[in-house]
């Protein structure tokens, strides 16, 4: 099987500091320039290309990075991830329409709300076995939607309308249809999330999560405060979902319970699984492909969820590590030894 990950890792590891900066800046520049490539083969016949870049692609990438902390890093199956997205979005919707706070002020509040609900849900749920956790989170995702559907304050099935766009910063104005501005904003959030995950993974937290994922009992017996780190993974995942929600609401300007169905949780899960649980680049690639293809290939957009379901089954059975599996440093080392 082709091994893109090791190839990439090899190139990266063989670079000096300058080389790495050049590669990183180059990659970011290419990604940032994507909105200008609508005229090429990248164009999407089903929906407007630039808006597809924002949603689903960039939004999926952001959420997939968040969910990956939970499921890929620490092996906790969260089937209600959409709840945090919804909580972020409704925080934006409510505060944006009822107060004078603007998007940038609401963003930290939305993140905090999502983290807070992550604690509320996680502290009891993370004491349970893995498959019970799956059911509890599944239920939680649905509950949040049902609450939104039935509480007058949240607009019931009509949802919340007239949510303000973000105020301009540095002279950049956010108009409703200026997709590329939103895209770049999301890109910044994505880069922040990548930075956070990479940073944490390389240190104590990353090792704790990894040990929990592989053998939780052994971890606990060798001094890893497993419960604390599981809650942290859950809450950090929630924070990213919440941030995505705030931006989503501030982009669509209209949210309703129908935007936050179980299917979203499953879509994001599919992105993570398809790309490669635990490997952030795999997860990003997975989200890009699964976000993009249904809008690129017409027949896929009808059967989007069907295809995603198939992806889950096929990947799990044939390539459970995804298209870009988590790191297997071993190989690189052995190669170095041989040379």
């Amino acid at each position: 099987m082709f091994n893109l990950r090791d190839k990439g890792a090899e190139i990266w590891e063989n670079q000096g500091r300058i080389g790495r900066i050049v590669i990183a800046v180059g990659a970011i520049a290419i990604v940032a320039a994507l909105p200008f490539m609508g005229g090429t083969f990248l164009n999407t016949p089903v929906a407007d290309y630039e808006s597809v870049l924002v949603y689903p692609i960039a939004m999926f990438v952001l959420m997939a990075i968040g969910l990956n902390i939970v499921i890929g890093k620490s092996g906790l199956l969260d089937l209600g991830y959409v709840a945090f997205f919804a909580i972020g979005a409704y925080t934006m919707g409510l505060l944006g329409t009822k107060t004078d706070l603007n998007t940038w002020e609401i963003l930290p509040i939305g993140i905090a709300m999502a983290m807070f609900s992550g604690i509320i849900l996680g502290v009891p749920a993370l004491k349970l076995r893995g498959d019970y956790l799956a059911i509890i989170t599944l239920g939680f995702g649905e509950i949040v939607r049902i609450v939104a559907l039935n509480l007058g304050a949240l607009g019931r099935s009509e949802g919340i309308q007239g949510i303000p766009t973000p105020p301009g910063i540095f002279g950049i104005e956010y108009a409703f249809d200026s997709h590329r501005i939103y895209y770049w904003t999301l890109l910044i959030l994505i880069l922040l999330a990548i930075w956070m995950v990479r940073r944490l993974s390389a240190r104590r937290a990353g090792r704790a999560w990894e040990s929990i994922r592989q053998d939780e009992d052994a971890a606990e017996l060798l001094g890893v405060p497993t419960f604390k780190y599981k809650v942290w993974a859950f809450v950090l995942g929630a924070s990213v979902g919440g941030a995505a929600g705030v931006l989503y609401a501030s982009k669509t300007l209209f949210i309703a319970p129908d935007n936050f169905t179980l299917q979203i949780s499953i879509l994001i899960l599919a992105c993570v699984v398809f790309g490669g649980m635990g490997n952030i680049w795999g997860v990003i690639l997975g989200a890009v492909i699964l976000g993009y293809l249904p809008d690129r290939i017409r027949f896929l957009s009808e059967a989007r969820l069907l295809v995603f379901g198939l992806v889950l089954v096929i990947m799990m059975n044939l390539r459970p590590d995804g298209i870009l599996p988590r790191k297997k440093r071993e190989k690189a080392i052995v190669k170095k030894d041989a040379s």
């Binding site: 019970y132 599944l138 049902i146 179980l262 499953i266 069907l306 379901g309 799990m316 059975n317 459970p320």
Partner: protein
């Protein structure tokens, strides 16, 4: 409010009981599979959903009922109901076996841990519900009424409706058959052996794959029957029905102690009644929330279920 409740108590109770029996049958699907695999069969909810459609296919397409048809009576009525029940059970049972082959079998051989089969089962359940959604154009489908919903009698102020009665009696019969199967037949005993101790069972020469297949089949048969009863009672279904009923039935299984067949019985009844009473006070839109809260409370306080005997005893 309380006065109203007392007035309606018996009619609520009958409705709750028949809903409870539907839950019991679906919960059996979860509980039996959990017994042998120690895993939640996430696709069971969609197996139920397919059972409801199988029922409609018989009533609407085979027997050509429409919303304006005359009700069937006598032998013809029982023929229709019997055919629909058996068809729903078979479709769901076979589908359940297929689900096991597609979602679980290979991963079991690879010894892949819990996460992978869970995800794979979620994938299968997505494929099932989406296929049906596309086929039905996302619309709910009504089942024509083949049977006049007569009242058989009165109990205090509540009428005893024929469909509720049929559901309770047939579910009891199915449950009795299942208990007999598990306790008396060779395969039933093998299923119990595997759920108590898979390794010992293997050493005793039991074909584990065969037993697991059989368990999915039996669980699917029960879940399919629930699909028929549901359609009989509510005369309506959709591609999305599995989720709500599935999580409720799973809660029932947990309530009774998952893996425990008798527990599914008590858990189903308890949840059916509880949900019906709670909906009366809070409104049906909070039904799912009630169920979820029950699930959470039970998992935290009594993870082995309220009616928990030692898990290994009456395990499936």
């Amino acid at each position: 409010m309380i006065g109203n409740f007392l007035d309606q108590f018996w009619s609520l109770t009958f409705g709750g009981l028949s809903l409870g029996f539907i839950y019991i049958l679906i919960a059996l699907g979860y509980t039996m599979v959990y017994g042998v695999l120690r895993m939640i069969n996430f696709a069971n909810s969609e197996i139920f959903m397919v059972g409801t459609f199988a029922t409609i296919i018989i009533i609407r397409d085979l027997f050509k009922f429409t919303q304006v048809s005359e009700y069937a009576t006598g032998f013809r009525l029982w023929l229709i109901l019997g055919t629909a029940l058996i068809f729903a059970m078979l479709v769901s049972g076979i589908l359940s076996m297929l689900v096991e082959m597609v979602a679980y079998r290979r991963l079991r051989r690879m010894n892949s841990g819990v996460l992978a089969p869970l995800i794979s089962a979620i994938g299968v359940s997505m494929v099932l519900s989406e296929s049906v959604r596309i086929l039905t154009d996302s619309r709910p489908v009504a089942s024509p009424r083949a049977m006049e919903k007569k009242f058989l009698g009165q109990f205090f102020d509540a009428g005893i409706r024929i469909d509720n009665t049929i559901i309770v009696i047939s579910a009891l019969v199915l449950f009795a058959i299942l208990i007999t199967f598990v306790n008396k037949t060779r395969m039933g005993k093998a299923i119990r052996a595997v759920s108590m101790n898979p390794n010992a069972a293997r050493l005793m020469g039991i074909n584990i794959d065969g037993v697991i297949s059989a368990t999915f089949l039996v669980g699917g048969l029960m879940t399919g029957a629930a699909g028929f009863f549901y359609t009989l009672k509510y005369e309506n279904t959709s591609a999305f029905i599995g989720f709500e009923l599935g999580i409720a039935a799973f809660t029932a299984a947990i309530l009774g102690g998952i893996g425990n067949i008798k527990g599914a019985f008590y858990g189903g009844l308890a949840l059916g009644l509880l949900e019906t009473y709670a909906s009366f006070f809070l409104g049906t839109q909070w039904k799912a929330v009630t169920v979820f809260i029950v699930l959470v409370l039970v998992l935290y306080t009594k993870p082995n279920g309220l009616f928990g005997e030692a898990l290994t005893q009456t395990r499936a």
